[in-house]
Amino acid sequence: MIADDITMARLMVMSQRGDRKAYSTLLLECQKWLRRYYSRRIVPHHLDDLVQDTLLSLHKKLASYDPARPFLPWLAAIARYRWVDHLRMVYKADEVEFDEGFAADNPEPAIAARISIERMFAYLPPAQAKAIELVKIEGLSVTEAAVACGQSESLIKVNIHRGLRKLTAMIEKA
C-alpha cells in the first residue's frame, strides 16, 4: 500500500525542514509510487535506473515543492521530465514485458488518471505515439518499427523527434 497525497505532502514538509526519518520514509514511498507510475512506459530492465534518476532529481529539487500545494502532481511533473529525458536516450531493449498499469491499481484513481503518463500520450497524434511506443519504449529498431507500422524509416524518425518535442511541452499541461 502506497501512502496518499496528504501523508506524502506532510512527509515532504518535514523533509524540507531537515527531518531525516521523514525523508527516508518519503523516499521509500516515492520509490514505490514511481515504480508503478513508470510501469508499462519503460522496459523493466531500465526501470531501476529511471526510478533512481528521478529520486536524485527529487533530492536536488526539494526546494521547488511548495507545501501549500498537493504533492503528487509535483512528483509527477518531476517524473515526467525525467521520463521524457530518458526516452531521448537511444537504447535497444531485449525484453518487452510490462508490469500492471499505474492507474489500474491506485488508491486515488482520479488523481492517478490526471497525472498519468498515458494522459500525455493521448494528446499525441497516433503516428507519433506509435513511433515512440515502438522504438523508445518497446525497444524496436527504426527499421523494425517501420515494417511494423507501415511508415518509412525517415517518417519514423521525424515522428519520434516531433513526438518527443510535444511531450516535453506537455510535461505540466496534459
Binding site: 531525516r20 521509500l28 529520486l55 526546494a63 521547488s64 515543492y65 511533473a77 510535461i171
Partner: protein, 214 residues
C-alpha cells in the same frame, strides 16, 4: 526494492539539508526587487525626465510604459510558476500581455506605412540605438535575478523558461529606461523600445536554457 536503490536512498537521506521552499510570494518579491533596482539605476545614472518630475505625463508614455510593465509582470509571474513544477500548471497567460504590447510595433508599422519615410525621420536613429543598448543592458538585472531563481527551481521546459526570462528582462529594462527617454512618439517606442524586448527574448531563449537545465 533493488540494492542500488536502497543504497541511493540511504545516501540521499544522509545528504539531506533543510531547504526553504520556493514560494510564489518570495519569487514575486525577488522579481519586484530587481525591477525597483533597475529603476534606481536609471534614476541615478541617467536621470528622470523633467516632464515626469513636473507631473506632466504624456498619454503615449503612460500607455507604452504600462504595456511594458504588464508584459514584464506577466512574464515574471510565469517564470516563477515554472520554477515550481506541477502537472496541471498553465503557462500561457503571458501571451495576452505580449499580444497587447505587440500593438505598439503594430501601430508604428501601420502609421509608418501611411506616412512613409517621414515616420522614420521622426524617430531619431541614434537615440533609438541608445534606448536599444541601454534598455537591453538594464534588462540584465531582472534577467539575472530570474535566472538564479530558476536555477533553484525545477522548470520542465527550459526553452520556454529562457524565452520568458528574456521577455521579462527586456520589458522591465525598457520600462525603466522609458522614465529617462524623452521621446513620446509611437514610431520611436513601437520600433526601438519593442526591439529591446524582442532582442532580450532571443538572447534569453538562446542562453538561459543551458544555465537552468537539470
Amino acid at each position: 526494492m533493488s540494492k542500488p536503490t536502497e543504497f541511493l536512498i540511504a545516501e540521499l537521506v544522509d545528504d539531506l539539508q533543510p531547504v526553504g521552499a520556493l514560494k510564489m510570494s518570495r519569487g514575486l518579491l525577488v522579481s519586484a526587487g530587481a525591477a525597483v533596482l533597475t529603476m534606481l539605476v536609471v534614476a541615478l545614472l541617467f536621470g528622470i525626465r523633467p516632464d515626469i518630475i513636473a507631473g506632466n505625463l504624456h498619454p503615449v508614455f503612460l500607455l507604452a510604459t504600462g504595456l511594458f510593465a504588464m508584459l514584464g509582470i506577466a512574464a515574471s509571474v510565469t517564470v516563477i510558476v515554472m520554477s515550481r513544477p506541477q502537472v496541471g500548471n498553465d503557462h500561457g497567460g503571458w501571451v495576452w500581455a505580449a499580444a497587447m504590447a505587440g500593438l505598439l510595433p503594430f501601430t508604428a508599422l501601420i502609421m509608418g506605412l501611411v506616412k512613409g519615410p517621414v515616420a522614420l525621420e521622426q524617430s531619431s536613429i541614434s537615440h533609438g540605438l541608445d534606448c536599444l543598448v541601454v534598455g537591453a543592458g538594464l534588462g540584465l538585472i531582472v534577467g539575472t535575478a530570474l535566472t538564479l531563481w530558476l536555477r533553484r527551481g525545477a522548470p520542465t521546459s527550459a526553452a520556454n523558461a529562457g524565452l520568458l526570462t528574456g521577455i521579462a528582462a527586456g520589458s522591465f529594462g525598457i520600462f525603466a529606461f522609458s522614465f529617462h527617454c524623452q521621446y513620446n512618439d509611437i514610431y520611436h517606442i513601437g520600433l526601438w523600445h519593442s526591439l529591446v524586448v524582442i532582442i532580450a527574448a532571443t538572447v534569453g531563449r538562446l542562453i538561459v536554457p543551458s544555465l537552468i537545465r537539470w
